[in-house]
């Protein structure tokens, strides 16, 4: 019996559910990963064409991002991502058009209306907070979100994402400490790709795993293969269930590989050997999951081609839509500094003069 896939692709459903996921859901995970990769690849082209001055992408992190976000309730749970989390926000429901509007710094961009760099995601309707460039600042925010949820009696979970470099910041330690003392429904999700720009893990921390840090705060530390989307989904699901049950926070470390440089302004050939970069490409989560789904009979050449064509159409549509969308007007630069200021305040007076 065939099942209708949420994105309109029909797949065979003979295989057993994996981790409670149906066949269409298993394929949807692949589609989200492919979409994230395709947008990132297009962003590189647009950057090199000079159309977008700065990008930061997540190639290699897709399984960790999509698998974890798929375990959440979009618009109900709170998500506090970092700048590499394209796969997270797409999985939660931000659209390719929205992502490209942000990348082109358009007025209608949902994250900031053109105020922030690309990849600084925010989406109030989906409870996606707001990414800033300082590293790890969102971790205490997730704790506060969870504190408020518990106080209000809501069964929502707050998930914050961050890289391995963020684990060196005081914010990380203060957040885990506070969250565990109060047994708050928060998940700390580390996408450990082994590099904080050019600084390798061995110079970032004296312990073998980020997950080892959890012991100091008396909370579970879970190490998961971040290139295995289903393993990530299962680990996150378990942490979400714990959090919803009132059992407190979890630290998840998803080991991933950064396939490219830190950002469009970085050249990783300065600090990574060609052998190391080639090794990273061996851990690309997309072909890995594709092989799995093919082995299970959920994907074949025809379906892969269909998904790729669909993704290509969506990316092209998003780019055309965003490119044609207007930039913010200069007079908007002074809006939203405050919700309200007294009439005597200079900011408003200067606006009235102009």
């Amino acid at each position: 019996m065939a099942q209708e896939h949420p994105i309109g692709i029909t797949v065979a459903a003979e295989s057993l559910p994996r981790h409670g996921l149906t066949a269409p859901q298993l394929v949807e995970l692949y589609y989200k990963m492919a979409l994230s990769r395709a947008i990132d690849e297009r962003l590189w082209v647009l950057n090199r064409q000079g159309k977008i001055p700065f990008i930061v992408t997540g190639e290699g992190h897709e399984a960790a991002q999509v698998g974890s976000a798929y375990a959440l309730r979009p618009g109900e749970d709170w998500v506090l991502p970092y700048y590499r989390d394209l796969g997270v926000v797409l999985t939660l429901g931000m659209t390719p058009r929205e992502v490209l509007l942000d990348a082109f710094a358009r007025a209608e961009g949902p994250s900031s209306g053109g105020r922030q760099m690309p990849a600084h995601y925010s989406c109030p309707r989906l409870n996606i907070a707001s990414v800033s460039s300082p590293v790890a600042t969102q971790l205490p925010h997730a704790v506060g979100v969870a504190l408020a949820a518990k106080y209000k009696g809501e069964r929502t979970v707050a998930v914050c994402y961050f890289g391995d470099g963020a684990t060196s910041k005081g914010d990380f330690h203060e957040a885990l400490n506070f969250a565990s003392i109060h047994k708050l429904p928060v998940i700390f999700f580390c996408e450990n790709n082994g590099w904080a720009i050019s600084v390798p893990l061995s110079k970032q921390m004296p312990v073998a795993h980020v997950a080892d840090r959890a012991a100091a705060y008396n909370l579970p530390g879970v190490l998961v293969d971040g290139t295995d989307v289903l393993a990530v989904y299962a680990a996150t699901r378990e942490a979400v269930d714990r959090a919803r049950a009132g059992a407190g926070p979890t630290l998840i470390e998803a080991r991933v590989y950064r396939l490219g440089p830190h950002t469009s302004d970085d050249d990783d050939r300065r600090y990574r050997s060609e052998a190391e970069r080639a090794e990273a490409r061996q851990h690309d989560p997309l072909p890995r999951y594709e092989r799995t789904l093919r082995a299970w009979g959920l994907l074949n050449d025809e379906l892969v081609a269909e998904i790729r064509a669909r993704v290509a159409r969506e990316v092209a549509d998003a780019e055309a839509f965003a490119a044609a969308s207007p930039p913010p007007r200069p007079e908007e630069a002074t809006l939203h500094v405050y919700a309200s200021v007294p009439a005597s305040w200079r900011l408003r007076r200067r606006l009235e003069e102009e």
Partner: protein, 326 residues
């Protein structure tokens, strides 16, 4: 109406806002069972319980960061930094996060938090219990900074801060916590943020100040009145945004201005106000703008040393004398 101290007015303001709005919670070090090192939260733990009055770990960035997150999820947190001198670990959270969330989300999210912090010299607090931190924060768009000088304003500004949709740094001057008493209505009222108050009307010289120095300025004005010099004392109350109209009205009336603060002179609030007056009101001035401020040193412990650094009533009187001669 009852006579209250500033610290009592703050406590009353917190209690009234917590009774009025279930979203108001308190976070800070020693604020629970202990009631705060200055007793500003005395009795609130007993009335509102541990869910609304949280004793936090000793970690300032965590206190402010957690408050920001709780605000994102619909609460109205009031965070206490035990001494303003210890606010620096939280500056990233205040400046890069709280103050910028509204702007960087194009109005999508706001950050309605209050950060209370006792500040100021004159209590034998030495380098790390005496600092005036206001100038650091008045350079930050998106943040509001207030500092009450009277019990009435302490309660009214606190209520305004809790109800404000933006982050407010509420600076409490330690020296006048209990030294100043005043009438505080039991009724609900707010003192609007961004509005100064003329504490004493005068004709000859304007003294513009805030916080504890308001009382020294009033003392100086009283002395100078016996010599026939009429001093107008303007209490800014809000330092960001500050009330340019009230300052301008006073300067155009007296044509002579002294600006006083206990913060260091270099880069202090006085520099900004002086620049504003020089730019906008140059034609109205009959003499130089004079600043009375602390020397550019840390605050030392020995009373002999502290008095050498921090301005007093005598310094204000001297400054007015110099200016009155023009």
């Amino acid at each position: 109406m009852a006579l209250k101290t500033i610290v009592e007015a703050i406590r009353d303001g917190l209690a009234e806002e917590m009774r009025r709005d279930w979203r108001v919670i308190l976070l800070g070090e020693d604020i629970g069972v202990h009631g705060g090192v200055f007793r500003a939260t005395d009795g609130l733990y007993a009335e509102f319980g541990p869910e609304r009055v949280l004793d936090t770990p000793l970690a300032e960035l965590g206190i402010v960061g957690t408050a920001i997150g709780a605000a994102l999820n619909g609460l109205r947190p009031v965070a206490e930094i035990q001494f303003a001198d210890y606010i620096y670990p939280a500056m990233d959270q205040i400046i890069n996060e709280a103050a910028k969330i509204r702007y960087r989300t194009n109005g999508g999210f706001g950050c309605p938090i209050v950060i209370r912090a006792p500040y100021g010299p004159g209590v034998h607090g030495a380098l790390y219990h005496s600092q005036s931190v206001e100038a650091f924060f008045c350079h930050v768009p998106g943040l509001k900074v207030v500092t009450p000088a009277t019990p009435y304003d302490a309660k009214g500004l606190l209520k305004a801060a809790v109800r404000d949709d933006d982050p407010v740094l509420y600076l409490e001057h330690k020296r006048i916590y209990r030294r100043v008493r005043g009438e505080v209505p039991d009724t609900d009222y707010v003192v609007p943020i961004g509005v100064a108050e003329v504490r004493r009307a005068g004709q000859h010289v304007s003294v513009i100040t805030y916080g504890a120095m308001v009382h020294q300025a009033l003392e100086a004005a009283e002395q100078l009145a016996t010599e026939g010099i009429s001093v107008e004392v303007v209490d800014l109350r809000s330092l960001l945004p500050w009330d340019q109209e009230t300052v301008a009205a006073s300067v155009t009336k007296t044509n002579k201005v002294v600006i006083c603060h206990e913060d260091n002179k270099t880069g202090g609030i006085g520099a900004e106000i002086a620049a504003f007056i020089a730019e906008e009101l140059f034609e109205d001035l009959d003499g130089p703008i004079v600043r009375v401020a602390a020397l550019d040193t840390p605050v030392p412990f020995s009373p002999a040393l502290e008095e050498a650094v921090i301005p007093s009533t005598r310094h204000i009187v001297d400054a007015v004398h110099r200016l009155a001669a023009y």
